[in-house]
């Protein structure tokens, strides 16, 4: 008999109108790294929610260490030594590493904290598992990779044996990712068991022993990773063969559409969020701003689109200085913007699909006379775009944007921005949180824009996307551009060095 640490057998979880988990089985062996693979909406989070006691399944049983258990709430899960590292860390930034680790399970003596015991235990764990941290530095001062180590130590400090990593690599550099992989292997060597939630096939191939695949709430199967090709995994995940490569011809760059000159912007605290940033985007090319999240990419986009004021520098769109102009002026001068956060900036969720489609053009002659909205034209235009961009919704033009799926919400924004026929399209993380099929579609649209002679500025955190879609890569680090790379001649390793700030290109030397 095999030694399973977790057995989730025939789990069925229903939400009204939907089966989020339909007879799903997940068996994790002791001491293995078990990948849980699936697109967004495949039911991975629901399954983990069931394991954590946040949802009660309608059917199926859960066994931990061979014993059937009932998990009613997250506390029960904690008692069973199940722990989770979330995608977004839950750390108190102005606490030290040590304080964060013991937070919630502090040992006290007559009301006073007993930190010495805690420190000893943390240091022992840190040594045993080769997780280097400085217990006394503030979390706000350490790197993202180290913050993740703190999260892992938090689980170990609580004596968790079953560790769940929820898309842990999204915020890391390539170097930090390989470090994490090493840590994960070390953990399993010490007898811990890991569930690794992801949709990145490379990482599964690198680190996982076995992999269970979910698709549309159904259990597709479990395979030994070593014996399975990436293509097979992706076909299991999507249900059809997917082309992983973005097909595109050679770029034919034309005149400069966007020129950014010596842009500087104030940040929080003493540092500038942007420091003397200059670059061009020409017609017919896709320029990608790569970098780890939080290195000034968002601020750069805010500055270019006029959504935030900057200290100095110029933004020139088609020869016209738009630096001090209003956001509306940017929009009407031929700039389109697919924002980073589609629900915060890109959509009014309480508005209908049709209203959202004219959010950037409701004031045009086509849609209003004397300030009265021409509902017929809006409706007609919306139907056109729905058809053209294949936007799917429950109640057509009247569907509230908030009731639509993430992929379709993104299609609304894409349709609205591209259909205004802009000279420059700024797309910020346009594929974030979307599944493989939707990503394929968005990449095609970006390339189509380029091929029709428009300029495209892509800001992305996804390395695959950076390498596959762009014609030129600019790497940002701490508010500066530290190098320009050609995706054809560079590799992930080099890109990673630039992203981590350890390497700078010629012409991008650090200002003294």
């Amino acid at each position: 008999m095999e030694d399973y640490v977790i057995e989730m057998l025939n789990i069925t979880k229903e939400f009204p109108g939907i089966r989020a988990n339909d007879n799903v089985t997940l068996k994790v062996r002791r001491g293995e790294i078990h990948a849980l693979l699936g697109e967004n909406g495949a039911g991975k989070s629901t399954l983990m929610g069931v394991l954590f006691g946040m949802y009660q399944p309608e059917g199926g049983t859960i066994k931990i260490n061979g014993k059937e258990v009932k998990i009613n709430n997250p506390n029960d899960a904690n008692d069973l030594n199940i722990g989770m590292v979330h995608q977004h860390f839950k750390l108190v930034h102005n606490f030290t590493v040590l304080e964060n680790i013991v937070l919630g399970v502090e040992s006290v003596k007559s009301g006073f904290l007993k930190m010495d015991d805690a420190r000893e235990k943390v240091m022992r764990l840190s040594e045993n598992y080769n997780l280097k941290v400085d217990p006394d530095s503030l979390v706000s001062d350490i790197t993202v990779g180290m913050q993740q180590r703190v999260e892992i130590l938090k689980m170990l400090y609580r004596d968790n044996d079953i560790l769940i990593f929820d898309e842990p690599t999204a915020v890391l550099t390539p170097q930090e990712i390989s470090e994490l992989m090493r840590i994960m292997k070390e953990l399993t060597a010490e007898g811990k068991s890991i569930i690794f939630i992801t949709h990145k096939l490379n990482e599964i191939k690198q680190v996982a022993d076995r992999c269970s695949v979910l698709r549309k709430g159904k259990y597709i199967g479990t395979v030994n990773v070593a014996e399975t090709e990436k293509e097979e995994l992706s076909e299991m995940m999507v249900g059809r063969p997917v082309s992983m490569v973005v097909e595109k011809s050679e770029p034919k760059p034309g005149e400069v559409v966007l020129a950014v000159e010596n842009l500087s912007m104030k940040g929080n605290g003493g540092k500038n969020a942007l420091n003397n940033v200059s670059f061009n985007v020409r017609a017919g090319e896709i320029v990608c701003i790569a970098g780890i999240d939080g290195n000034g990419q968002s601020e750069l986009v805010y500055a270019i689109t006029g959504m935030d004021k900057f200290l100095s520098g110029k933004v020139i769109l088609k020869g016209q200085d738009v630096s001090k102009k209003s956001i509306r002026k940017h929009t009407t001068s031929g700039m389109a913007h697919i924002p980073e956060d589609r629900q915060k900036h890109g959509l009014v969720l309480q508005f209908t699909l049709a209203q959202n489609l004219v959010l950037q053009s409701y004031f045009e002659k086509q849609f209003q006379t004397f300030g009265f909205i021409k509902f017929d034209s809006v409706e007609k235009y919306a139907l056109e775009l729905i058809e053209k961009y294949d936007i799917r919704s429950g109640q057509g033009t009247m569907t509230l944007a908030g009731n639509m799926s993430g992929g379709n919400q993104q299609k609304i924004i894409l349709a609205r921005e591209i259909d205004r026929d802009p000279e420059l399209l700024i797309a910020v993380q346009p594929t974030r949180g979307l599944d493989v099929g939707a990503i394929e579609n968005i990449h095609k649209q970006l390339v189509a824009q380029r091929d029709s002679g428009k300029a495209v500025l892509l800001v992305s955190l996804e390395l695959e996307e950076v390498m596959n879609v762009s014609d030129r890569i600019l790497v940002m680090y701490e508010g500066e551009i530290v190098g320009e790379l050609d995706p054809k001649t560079t590799d992930l390793k080099e890109l990673g060095l630039y992203m981590a700030g350890t390497k700078r290109g010629s012409g991008y030397e650090k200002a003294q």
Partner: protein, 391 residues
């Protein structure tokens, strides 16, 4: 599967009006309990009087309801309009009384104005002064990010005290400690309404209020201006992204809200019903009553039309209560409970969500933030699956 999805969507959209109805029912129930406690033998007959409200007295009673509904319809519109833009105009009271003073001032002093224009000029003065009073918190919010609730509460007191001061300086009747009556030409025409509804105070003001209900409805739902206001109100970030000037909209929205309240004050004090501005340190209650009217009407002009008539109706019923030796304050308690429970109606919606839709939120204990983020992820799961089904 598809049909079931549609059904859930429909149920969801029903929740909000349903929650208003729920608030009214629970409010009425609580009022009934209070009546039971204070006078058990007559509680039932008294309660039926409350429900019948103005209809107890036939057409005259309806006339009374319309008269009582006029000012709170306007202040309700004022609060509701600001709500749609994401602003909480708690200053309707100040705007109301400032508008009232302007109307009374023109009504008393405007001897030079042609008689058939007199009431129009007085009402316009009320509108302008109310608008100015609304503009102050609007400008403070737009330019200095001063919260409009703080600013407009302060403007309530400034308005009240200033009006007291100005009344004593300009149109003061020392013997009654109140303003002089306005000239007959300054009263809102009756337009025959007092013939249809044989109640003395009924006047054309209700028609003017109805006109503004319609106007606000059109502005909010048919114009680009309304589109902008609502976009900013629902999601200021998206509004900014779409190049809508939030500052301009905040100021305009508060000015318009102030104007609506100001007109409310004008209509009330030009009603020819023997209302005078008393020199007392009391904030005008009509302004605050606009808040429950707007809440119950879900901030929509049409909703406000009905909720103001409903509240006026039970207020009229409250006056009738006195024949059963109840104090009319019972009605204030009932309205207060309705407001109270309209806040609870969100809770009620949450309960419905939980038990009808089965959206179980994370348990207590555990890390709440974790649960929340996770809950969101699972919701996305469900949503994506739904999207897939529709395709």
């Amino acid at each position: 599967m598809k049909k079931r999805n549609k059904k859930t969507v429909k149920i969801e959209s029903l929740f909000t009006p349903l929650s208003s109805v729920f608030a009214i029912l629970v409010g009425l129930l609580l009022g009934f309990i209070i009546m039971l406690v204070s006078n058990p033998s007559q509680a039932l007959s008294g309660f039926s009087l409350v429900l019948k409200g103005g209809f107890e007295d036939g057409l005259a009673g309806i006339g009374k309801v319309l008269y009582l509904a006029t000012p709170i319809m306007m202040t309700g519109l004022s609060v509701g309009f600001a709500f749609k833009t994401g602003l909480f105009n708690i200053g309707a009271s100040g705007q109301f009384i400032v508008g009232a003073f302007a109307a009374v001032f023109v009504g008393v002093k405007g001897k030079e104005i042609p008689p058939n224009l007199h009431w129009i000029v007085a009402l316009a003065a009320a509108m302008i002064c109310g608008g100015l009073w609304g503009a102050v918190p609007g400008i403070l919010k737009a330019l200095f990010n001063v919260h409009e609730v703080i600013a407009s509460i302060m403007m309530n007191y400034i308005g009240m005290s200033l009006v007291n001061l100005l009344v004593t300086k300009t149109v003061y009747d020392r013997f009654t400690n109140r303003s002089y009556p306005v000239m007959a030409s300054a009263n809102i025409p009756k337009w025959g309404l007092n013939k249809i509804f044989p109640f003395n105070s009924t006047n054309g003001g209700i028609l003017i209020a109805l006109f503004f209900v319609l106007l606000v409805h059109i502005v909010l739902n048919k114009t680009t201006f309304g589109f902008e206001l609502k976009a900013c109100g629902h999601n200021p970030y998206a509004g900014k992204y779409a190049g809508i000037s939030a500052k301009r909209n905040i100021v305009l929205s508060m000015v318009i809200a102030g104007m609506l309240s100001g007109i409310g004050g004008g209509l009330d004090y030009l009603s020819g019903a023997g209302k005078f501005i008393q020199v007392v340190d009391v904030l005008a209650p009509e302004g605050f009553n606009g808040i429950p009217v707007a809440l119950l009407g879900l901030s929509s002009p049409i909703g406000i039309l009905f909720s103001s008539i409903f509240i006026a109706n039970i207020t009229a019923g409250g006056f009738n209560l006195q024949q059963y030796r109840f104090v009319p304050e019972v009605i204030s308690i009932i309205t207060a409970s309705i407001i109270y429970f309209s806040a609870f109606s969100l809770l009620f919606k949450g309960l419905l969500d939980k038990y009808v839709l089965g959206k179980k939120k994370g348990n207590d204990g555990g890390d709440e933030a974790d649960d929340e983020e996770f809950g969101k992820k699972v919701e996305e799961d469900v949503e994506v699956l739904r999207g897939g089904e529709e395709g």
